[in-house]
Amino acid sequence: MEPTFLYSLILSATLFTIGIVGVMWKRNAISLFMNVELMLNAANLAFVAFSREFGLMQGGALVLFIMTVAAAEAGVGLAIFIAIYRSRRHIRADEIDLLRG
């Protein structure tokens, strides 16, 4: 196992953990969203590291797809936040509970 591979996986795990902590802690919906992006980036780094370790290019293709999904998610999600802010004046994630069962 190459040291860069181990290093990349450790960094990826660190970033993912920080992202999870952020999702748990933050109340503001946009901060929450940014931490989700952080977690997606950590996954991307893991894909690239595995791709290099095994000498394949599949990791790059998967990263491309993840980035497309992330871009679509950011576009639609932020539009939803703007719509919510228009009617409720805030986007505190724990107070938007209209759909709670």
């Binding site: 290093y7 990349s8 960094l11 980036n41 992330a70």
Partner: protein, 185 residues
Amino acid sequence: MGADILIYAILYLITVGGALGVLFNKDTVKSAMCLILVMIALAGHYLYLGQEFVFAIQIIVYAGAIMVLFLFVIMLLNMREREVTPWYLRNPRFVGGVFALTFFFLLAIGINTFGSVSQGRAPAPAPSISELATLLTTKYSLPFLLTSILLLVAVIGAVVMGRRSDPETGEEYLADEEEFLQEQF
């Protein structure tokens, strides 16, 4: 190898520091700036791991497009806690000029160094982008095409969610829009 370890250590510190900045900043704008830092540092990792194409789209799509969208929405919703302008932002022309000059000299130094380093060395083989393109057009051609449909649906969804009124009846989704605008401006 020693220089490599140093570069990795610096990149690790920048990435984790930026991520902690995203976590601990109260101000959403500063949080977003830290996230941009993390994304640029990760782009550096991709370059070192031999994925030049991922490096490029990481900067263009993530640090460029997605984070600008985030900053735009934060500014639009005006969620900053306080509006005190720090001393270094009082004179935007001066700050912009200093940044531009620093960036110019950094670029000049970088290009200069690159010229002296690349002399007398055979060009490194760079098969990764063409391999990736082959993979995307053969094995992953169907997911690649589905991506375009996903993006189309996302564009339509964003437009529908961002609408102010019902297009058929003309009825406003928000009753107190006027009051909202007066509040804002």
